[in-house]
Amino acid sequence: MIRTSLMLVRNFAERETKARYKRSALGWLWSLIKPLVTVAVYSLVFGVIYRAAPPVTANGRAETFALYLFTGLVVWNLFTEVVTGSMQWLQGVSDLRKKIYFPTETVILGGAVSTFLQSVLEAMVLVAIMIGFGNISATVVFLPVALVLVAVFGLGIGFVVSIFNARYRDTEHLVGIVLSVTFFLIPIVFTPDLVPEEAYGLPVRRMMELNPLNAIVAVSRDAVYFLEVPSLSRLATAAGWAAGSFGLGLLYFRRRSMQISEEP
């Protein structure tokens, strides 16, 4: 059973990867070019135009707002790609599933594996730049930890929204909106200290900190920007959310996935 699932995950992951670079001459190089251009544009906007102040680090070597931003973005991008991808991956096999049985969660897991590998390339670009700035330490091992955590957390949400989306295609649009709002609810394009303790009588800083994604993004910043070992409570919070989301999401998906073959 597990063997079959693993083989399917691999098949779907390969398919997703192949589809991504189909008919493109540069192929996977695009996965390097895109993040590099992103950093360049952010450097221009936030370094030259806005002159946003980057958070202070211990060695001060990579105190560039673009790098601060990019560190958070690597994690955030993986999250949104897994969540929105889940809906598309499931939709992509809905006709197939009407004709043959297979453990349907494997298509989402496979898509996530492919997306994860893509974001590893992105993370490697980030690490290479950090090495260039001389801002690197053993804490870098927590970067893959953050990526795994965010992918697993995103999968739990992806499992649920993909089932909704199989019935109501509105889900896709709704999720898109929720994601773009969420992007500004966690400190990615701004630093946490810019957020006031309270606004309109709401403890906004506390609310931001309670967002599970905040903890995961913070792990990646500790790893390659601040070069600090993430606190145990931060890691535990992130891991707890990831495990809880994944477990509940998969449970829900398994209970509902037999209905996919009966959707008209």
Partner: protein
Amino acid sequence: MSASSGSEAAAIAVEGVSKRFRLELDRPGSLKEAILRFGRRDVRDFWVLQDVSLRVRSGSFFGLIGHNGSGKSTLLRLIAGIHRATRGEIRTAGRLSALLELGSGFHPDLTGRENVFLNGAMLGLGRRQMAAAMDEIIEFSGIGEQIDAPVKIYSSGMYVRLGFAVAVNVDPQILLVDEVIAVGDEEFQQKCLRHMDQIRAAGKTVLVVSHDSALIRSLCDEAAWLDHGRLRCVGDPDTVVDRYLDHVASGASDPTLTARD
């Protein structure tokens, strides 16, 4: 002698199976509509199968006949695990491979070769095993170089030929076949039927759904007749087919009716 004697090992055991499809008439297509109409859903139940029990002996060829919409294909889909039975239980023993309809189990964007691997994985067969079977599959299907073209450009005949080639070459213990052989050309049909003899000799179990009563008579050891989701009779293929044909000739069956409220 009868299918339900149970003295021999059953490859497929269907026990008291009913299947309800819930059709939401003008079902809300969007969340907005769903919310606006909350609690006022116009849901209608269709019992496609009602209390069906049968046993297919291991190593036998079993035929299912019945009018359009009698529930034959639904029963096959339940056995293949595509749908879950609303009531009752289905047990199968051994690896099951199903040829349910045109291009069953093919992903249109993948090439024939990639689909063969994907299908293999769905049946629990690894790359190495599928790679070993690949030549045989290409040869049997007569697809040739098109094996590396996406299956969406295949003709319906190619779909079926590749589907059949995969289904019989993954070494299944149980093979489910739904009408598909009829889609191929004469030559391929002959090839399939010849292959069926090999499958029989290898002691596999085959469940065939067909309208072709001659095929059921010649191929099967046992047959069952489904009528409006209920099992009318099970037994010797000649007897079952005769009773079915008598019934059709008497004009008693209404081929359009499948719904039961």
